[in-house]
């Protein structure tokens, strides 16, 4: 058994888990954070993307023990109280989701993508960057639109602040 301590969505948590426990299992089972989903067993689908120390990670590719000591953000921790993150807002406004199962991973991947690229995002880059996130409902059309809208809004907000 491994003793695990980490900060999840700003809250210090700790627990015991078998050594083989994946980060996604720890989040879902030990912490009841079921917004992070499991859609495959080969780390292809991206439904389980979370942020570990600020970087997008597929939480099915990491052991919970490896993440011990880290700061983890899941979809549940993205909004600021009732105020949605700009990417969440963009997915809502642009109909970037249907069944919602891939959505948490999509949003977490998109937040990371926008942070890395800033205002330089274009459609081809977004599509290439979504290689690791599979959606079966939307045909990606409105997901791409949502991410570009959020990137534009974020970059506009940054410029306004400067």
């Amino acid at each position: 058994m491994a003793s695990i301590t980490m900060t999840v969505n700003g809250r210090k948590v700790s627990g015991e888990a078998e050594d083989r426990t994946l980060l996604v299992e720890f989040l879902r089972s030990n912490l009841a954070l079921t917004g992070t989903h499991v859609g495959c067993d080969t780390s292809q689908c991206g439904a389980c993307v979370v942020h570990v120390d600020g970087k997008a990670v597929k939480s099915c590719t990491m052991l919970a023990a490896q993440a011990s000591g880290s700061s983890v953000t899941t979809i549940e921790g993205l909004a600021n109280g009732d105020v949605l993150h700009p990417v969440q807002k963009a997915f809502h406004e642009n109909h970037g989701l249907q069944c919602g199962f891939c959505t948490p991973g999509m949003i977490m991947a998109a937040v990371d993508m926008i942070e890395r690229h800033g205002g330089d995002l274009d459609e081809a880059t977004v599509r290439a960057e979504l290689e690791g996130n599979i959606c079966r409902c939307t045909g990606y059309h409105n997901i791409v639109k949502s991410i570009l809208a959020a990137a534009a809004e974020t970059s506009g907000a940054r410029q306004a602040a400067e």
């Binding site: 989903h37 859609g39 109909h95 249907q98 199962f101 948490p104 081809a124 599509r127 045909g139 059309h141």
Partner: protein, 782 residues
């Protein structure tokens, strides 16, 4: 119109908030006290006799609750899985339904068939124990390919089905077709295969079965598109429990596409195992299990013969189809290659004579059933490949050949039992051609050629049938269920509204669109309307969501219940306002006497219904109405899709330059949601045409495409953005004029794409999926 959040408004979805904040509740998110975890031991062989099962070592693993097999299941009286649509062969004999036990009996017939369930404290322990179950198999020869399966000497899969033939069914007038063919000026022939697909809803199937011994009552949480049908079938046929002792809950469901219509072994076995073991039992498929056990789609091989007269008018279609049903007959498998397929073989065309022969076969593969479009994509792909082929052979513009053969007056009776009630096929063709700048294509082709690339353009003018009905008609065709829908509108005392519907939403946005209908009718805000679905304890009965039926049938039922609510509200208001009932109107959340300033707020009327202090004499208190709606006809969405591609002759790689979809869905509730449905459908169609192909090893019967490493799911960079447009002829067969939009994209797109690629490469002999390898081979086979 006129209501801001009513019909036709582009309202952002009410249900989004829980999904974008991680608060969606899917079956795997459900936990109950004392819950244990199940792993199924599945057949590693495509065809084998089970000589013995040794569970002793598995039972000794610490943490294992029980290990159960098919003999124990049968001994407890749990029934076989059934196919709920009876088809008779042309000789009058009923379809040959082989026994399908929820846990295998003495024979396994496909890789992945469930044999044993292990229940343990954790999934990891169950998995370890499952590896210790020793099953002694005697391997038998297997057959996976539908052509080989019906050849003499092929391995026999079910004793009941000679030569693996399930049924040999026909529709149409064979003699008339033969006559038309012998009189024809032109004959065009084509053989087309429709590749087998694996649905891949992103949420893997899951179920949680909970038997409450105190109440002698079962609860089943499951990933279902139609929880009421699941309860009915599990009760009436599988003998799990009577309906009043079985509650089925389909909470948030992560996509279905048909694959979650069917009642699978796992739901039944987990409920049974919960009673046997005394603990709640949860099972969640891993992705490889989904690949192996979710009902697959398509897998047809067809030939078509088109007869045309000297004026290029079609005089007959003759079609022969072989359809693979897999190892067992899944719940609606028999309807897919018959009434959902052959009845659409007239396409958008005025064809006086049609004859189709469909033979269905067993193979040692996963059962095949409805997948997005279900029969209609196979029909449209066949007809539209053949129309494009005919145009090329007759040296005609493909749009022109279609145009001169379109059905132009409605209602139109086809020779394959459909009555098209409304449409304007030229309108969608024109809109699509203009959007695609068809006139400018030759110049674009020349420009591409100068760069060494091959441009092609392809059409697919599809028609489909949705909202399958009326129940009386489908019953006469063999359906075991009715295909109506129910709705209950509950107006609370404070005026807020709950709509209980038998339709199930698993991505379609019903919580928004259904509320828009209520807002349109009563003028109340969307926030005061809740849509309740997916729970047999809340909604009395319903038929669920598939076949693009939720708008046309489900919303029509809501409209019927709203009619009754409005009628009662008007009676009450007339009484309170001392006015004539016929002068009362309901507008913007107020109940008014037309032409006066006399009015009541909506909540004042509802409150009056519940206080019952001052109701008309003899009126019952309350404001709650129910409607069961059974449509008078199918609906017929139709449209034109145009795809333009550029092929790199060196690599065979295809790039989609543009994809235009012009659909006639009748009246539209929420254009944003409809466009989203088209995007998703087109993506699945492009996936079928260019990427996806289920592959079995023909010798061993092993599924070779059982993970996302092996099965090419469309990724974002495989697809373009789509140009989605609509034309409108309202549907005359339901009160809202809705036709349905869920499947069109998957129906109309494969033909458009393959017609474009074959146009680019100048070789018509190309099968799906058109991978770079297949395109390159076709290009160089000339």
């Amino acid at each position: 119109m006129g209501v801001v959040e009513g019909i036709g408004a582009r309202v952002a979805r009410k249900e989004d908030r829980r999904f974008i904040t991680g608060k969606g509740r899917y079956t795997d998110d459900m936990n109950v006290v004392g819950m244990k975890h199940a792993i199924f031991v599945r057949s590693p062989h495509a065809h084998a006799r089970i000589k013995g099962i040794d569970k002793s070592e598995a039972l000794n693993v610490p943490g294992v609750i029980d290990v159960l097999d098919g003999d124990q299941l049968a001994a407890d009286g749990i029934g076989n899985l059934i196919c709920g649509w009876m088809i008779h062969s042309r000789d009058g004999s009923p379809m040959k339904m082989g026994d399908w036990r929820p846990l295998a009996g003495d024979t396994v017939r496909y890789v992945g068939e469930a044999v044993v369930i292990v229940v343990a404290d954790t999934k990891a322990i169950a998995r370890e124990a499952a590896e210790k179950v020793v099953i002694d198999y005697e391997e038998l020869d297997a057959v996976t390919d539908l052509v080989t399966a019906v050849e003499p000497g092929a391995p026999q899969i079910h004793p009941v089905a000679d030569n693996n033939l399930v049924f040999d069914w026909t529709i149409g007038d064979e003699m008339a077709v033969e006559e038309a063919i012998s009189d024809a000026a032109h004959i065009v022939e084509l053989e087309v295969s429709n590749n087998r697909l694996i649905p891949n809803a992103m949420e893997p199937r899951a179920t949680l079965g909970h038997y409450d011994a105190g109440e002698d009552h079962y609860t089943c949480w499951t990933t279902s598109q139609n929880p009421h049908v699941a309860r009915l079938v599990m009760s009436a046929f599988y003998n799990v429990a009577p309906e009043n002792k079985l509650r089925v809950i389909a909470p948030d469901v992560g996509g279905g596409f048909g694959s979650k219509i069917f009642i699978y072994p796992e739901e039944i076995v987990c409920l049974w195992a919960s009673k046997r073991t005394g603990v709640p039992v949860k099972w969640v498929a891993d992705r490889t299990e989904s690949f192996m056990t979710d009902a697959h789609g398509r897998d047809h091989l067809s030939t078509i013969k088109i007869a045309l007269d000297a004026n290029k008018k079609i005089t007959a279609f003759k079609i022969d189809t072989l359809a693979n049903l897999g190892a067992y007959m899944s719940l609606f498998s028999s309807s897919v290659p018959t009434y959902l397929y052959a009845t659409l073989l007239s396409g958008q065309y005025d064809v006086p004579n049609i004859f189709a022969n469909v033979r269905t076969v067993y193979t040692n593969t996963t059962p095949v059933d409805a997948y997005r479009g279900a029969g209609r994509p196979e029909a449209s792909y066949l007809i539209e490949r053949a129309m494009e082929t005919a145009a090329r052979q007759l040296d005609m513009d493909p749009a022109e050949l279609r145009r001169i053969n379109f059905v132009k007056t409605f209602p139109h009776e086809t020779p394959v039992i459909m009555t098209y009630d409304a449409g304007d096929f030229e309108a969608s063709l024109d809109v699509a051609m203009e959007a695609a700048d068809y006139a400018g294509f030759p110049a674009r082709k020349a420009e591409a050629k100068a760069r060494g690339k091959l441009r092609g353009i392809g059409f697919n003018c599809y028609i489909e049938a949705c909202g399958i009905a009326p129940s009386k008609a489908v019953g006469s065709l063999g359906a075991g269920v009715g295909l109506w829908e129910s709705a209950e509108v509950r107006v609370n005392a404070v005026g807020t509204i709950e709509v209980l519907t038998g339709s199930h939403s698993h991505g379609q946005g019903h919580e928004t669109t259904f509320a828009q209908l209520v807002a349109e009718r009563l003028g109340v805000g969307l926030d005061s309307i809740s849509i309740v679905h997916g729970d047999t304890d809340k909604v009395q009965m319903g038929m669920g969501t598939y076949g693009s039926r939720s708008g046309a049938v489900g919303m029509s039922a809501i409209a019927g219940a709203l009619d009754k609510v409005e009628a009662k509200a008007k009676k009450v208001a007339a009484h309170l306002l001392e006015a004539d009932e016929s002068d009362i109107v309901i507008e913007n959340g107020e109940v008014k006497v037309a032409g006066t300033d006399k009015k009541l707020a909506w909540h004042e009327v509802s409150l009056a219904c519940y206080t019952a202090h001052n109701l008309p004499d003899g009126m019952e208190p309350g404001l709650k109405e129910t409607s069961f709606y059974d449509p008078s006809n199918f609906t017929f969405p139709a449209g034109c899709y145009i795809c333009e591609v550029e092929v790199d002759p060196d690599t065979g790689t295809t790039q989609i330059i543009q994809f235009v979809a012009a659909d006639d869905f009748g009246n539209i509730i929420n254009p944003m949601i409809v466009e989203g449905q088209v995007h998703g459908g087109v993506a699945q169609g492009i996936g079928q045409a260019m990427l996806e192909g289920c592959a079995y090893d023909p010798e061993s019967g092993q599924l070779l495409t059982a993970s996302y490493m092996d099965y090419a799911m469309p990724r974002a960079h495989d697809l373009p953005s789509f140009n989605v447009l609509t034309t409108t002829t309202p549907c005359p067969s339901n009160p809202l004029g809705i036709k349905g939009c869920g499947e069109a994209g998957a129906i109309g797109s494969p033909g458009a794409l393959i017609n474009a690629i074959t146009d680019a490469i100048g070789n018509n002999d190309l099968s799906m999926p058109a991978t770079p390898q297949n395109v390159w081979a076709a290009l160089n086979a000339k």
